[in-house]
């Protein structure tokens, strides 16, 4: 049986939190964010775990200075896992 590492679990949790937040706004929002991530940085949503700055920049592009509200929602979805080191790093960078 394959055992997921802590890093992989964190990555999955971050991906789920991002996707859940964007889906709450609408499927085209998730599609657009995914598209811009790939177009600008050649990365996918799970890669935002290592590069939160990419997600931050795409959200800023779409929503201007009001991207904070989306970040807040992602943070809320990850609240109970915020003590995990890699998630803590993700949250710190995205909230800066």
């Amino acid at each position: 049986m394959y055992d997921a590492t802590n890093g992989e679990i964190s990555k999955a949790l971050v991906t789920l939190a991002i996707e859940k937040t964007l889906l709450t706004m609408g499927k085209p929002v998730l599609d657009e964010v995914a598209h811009r991530l790939f177009a600008n940085y050649k990365c996918f949503i799970p890669d935002c775990h290592e590069h939160p700055e990419y997600l931050k920049s795409v959200l800023k592009e779409l929503y201007g200075n009001c991207y904070n509200n989306i970040v807040k929602s992602i943070k809320k979805n990850l609240e109970e896992f915020a003590t995990k080191k890699s998630i803590e790093h993700f949250l710190t960078v995205i909230s800066e």
Binding site: L23, T24, M25, G26, K27, P28, V29, D31, E32, H35, R36, F38, A39, K42, L62, Y63, G64, N65, C66, N68, N69, I70, K72
Partner: protein, 269 residues
């Protein structure tokens, strides 16, 4: 993705539409009242029609799911009711040649306001962190400041209108004051640099509509209004701004073809 070039082109088309409509109305007014009425009524077919079509496109793209989806679904309600109202107005004005106020058209005009208010709430929801109590208070005060003289003007008018007509005339400034609050919030956010110009178009459109309604009320009370009156330019501009606002969202949230995605995946391999 909407590139900077697309954005500037959208702004160019917007400017062209605004200037073009103003120019047509100006020429129509020079040609006499009858021609003005005819041309303006005919303009009310493609202009609100385009808005209805664009709003259906964006609503279908978002479906009813998600906050944006609900917002655009409500917007379809607004675009459809106002489109129907404009066509009823046209039929009364051009076919039956009777005064379209009051008429069934008013039911559809008024039906649009709850949709517009709910839409603006959902539309501004992603920006709620940027909306302070101070902004809400200023917007509410401005709406009340516009409502009081409008109500006074309508009530104090010397026109010989029935109680029903008066109630109907009064319901517009009340509805306008309600939708003006979120619209002003959106405009304030734009001037504070929180949102971009295309995002704030919807709010500017509401603002124009409210100004047009106030103008309509004033001119109706002294019986100087006719279809094609310069105040109609504001209604048409409002529809145009709404249309470009919706169009910019269609551009932003384009459907991305899976073919492109798989092509990109192949590049990665």
């Amino acid at each position: 993705m909407q590139t900077n070039l697309e954005k500037s082109q959208t702004k160019k088309y917007l400017l062209f539409s605004i200037v073009g409509t103003g120019f047509i109305m100006l020429l129509a007014n020079l040609a006499g009242q009858e021609a003005t009425t005819m041309i303006t009524n005919l303009l009310y077919v493609p202009v609100p029609g385009a808005l209805a079509v664009l709003s259906i496109i964006i609503a279908v793209r978002f479906t009813v799911q998600g906050e944006h989806g609900k917002a655009w679904f409500l917007f379809v309600g607004l675009a459809a009711s106002w489109f129907i109202a404009e066509q009823i107005w046209l039929v009364y004005d051009l076919v039956y040649q009777t005064d379209p106020f009051p008429s069934v058209a008013d039911i559809f005009y008024l039906a649009g306001y709850p949709f517009l208010f709910m839409f603006s709430i959902y539309y501004l929801k992603p920006l709620k962190d940027a909306i302070s109590k101070k902004i809400i208070a200023y917007s509410t005060l401005a709406a009340i400041a516009l409502l009081i003289p409008s109500l006074y003007m309508a009530y104090d008018s010397n026109s010989e209108i029935s109680a029903f007509e008066l109630a109907l005339a009064l319901s517009y400034p009340v509805a306008d004051a309600i939708v003006l609050i979120p619209a002003l919030i959106g405009v304030i956010l734009f001037f504070r640099g929180e949102v971009n110009f295309l995002w704030s178009l919807m709010c500017v459109a509401i603002l124009l509509d409210v100004v047009a309604d106030t103008g309509f009320l004033i001119t109706s009370m002294d019986d100087s209004y006719y279809t094609g009156h310069p105040i109609d330019i504001l209604y048409l501009w409002s529809y145009i701004l709404f249309s470009f606002g919706v169009y910019s969202h269609i551009q932003i949230f384009k459907k991305h073809r899976p073919k492109i995605k798989s092509q990109n995946l192949d590049d990665l391999r």
